[in-house]
Subunit: 186 residues, 2 copies
Amino acid sequence: MKITSLAHEYWSKIVSPGDRVIDATCGNGMDMLALSKLLDGQGELIGYDIQKEAIQKSEALLKKSLTHDQFQIIAFHHQSHETFLEKSAKLIVYNLGYLPGGDKSLTTQTETTLQSLQSACCVILPGGTISVMCYVGHEEGRREEEAIQEFVQALPSDRWCCSHHRIINRHQAPSLYLIQRLRNIG
Amino acid sequence: MKITSLAHEYWSKIVSPGDRVIDATCGNGMDMLALSKLLDGQGELIGYDIQKEAIQKSEALLKKSLTHDQFQIIAFHHQSHETFLEKSAKLIVYNLGYLPGGDKSLTTQTETTLQSLQSACCVILPGGTISVMCYVGHEEGRREEEAIQEFVQALPSDRWCCSHHRIINRHQAPSLYLIQRLRNIG
């Protein structure tokens, strides 16, 4: 069981062409690449990152890997993810920590991540999911994961189904939170 | 994300016709039913339960639900699961707690469950998995889950990959441990 594969498989079950999907932390663009294949040129894929380098890396990867149709539904916002410009989304993904191969002092910050998750909860569609991958290999990452766990545990179970997935016999393995907004009933 | 569905999906990925699969806790037979479909009449499916009532319920369910070929590879052992009579298995599943609709005072016990997990670790094939569903809705269940967590966390990461999956915004939701024995290298 690979936790990253579990995330990707879950995404593939809930995303269909035509959906709007947000990557709140572009990073090196690998998640956007997987997501754009699921949308296959229909819908919208929006990537946020506060680092210009991340946007550039992601854009370059996507341009060389995707068809013209798949690429044309992608937009980037070079800004932090505390608030989203979009009004609704089927899936919002986070890959927390620092940019792989980039400046390790520039990691996501607990306070802005929590603000962003609050925005995400307002934007996510019924039946949609917020997917959060945490890395506890650095000090801020541990603090961030504790705060996320507290936030997620407190979401009311009549409107949210929140699951946690992690490898438990390895130190500092990534862990995944899936925050699913239940469909409105009646 | 339903944790029981996650377990079933995971089983379907690792079990193929011809494998030997053990259900260490038959219960009402629902897990054996799912497993027998995956084997589809080839291999072996063995069910353990200390309660005669569980074996009878399971047998009745399987007889009325399966084809003759699917049923003929099934065997039952009316005994506790501390030790397994088989020498190897691709998958061993546990559904802990008490028999649904049965005597609630008869639950699996922490000590015998731990002994059984130790036997399971000796019997499971490289590339195979021990799947453990825990229910913390009763006192012994909480004690049992803590002990299992401790046992699983201590398994060496060069030979085992152990993941934990649970709903975190609902009290007493079931939780799943997947204990995968890594393939031998070299």
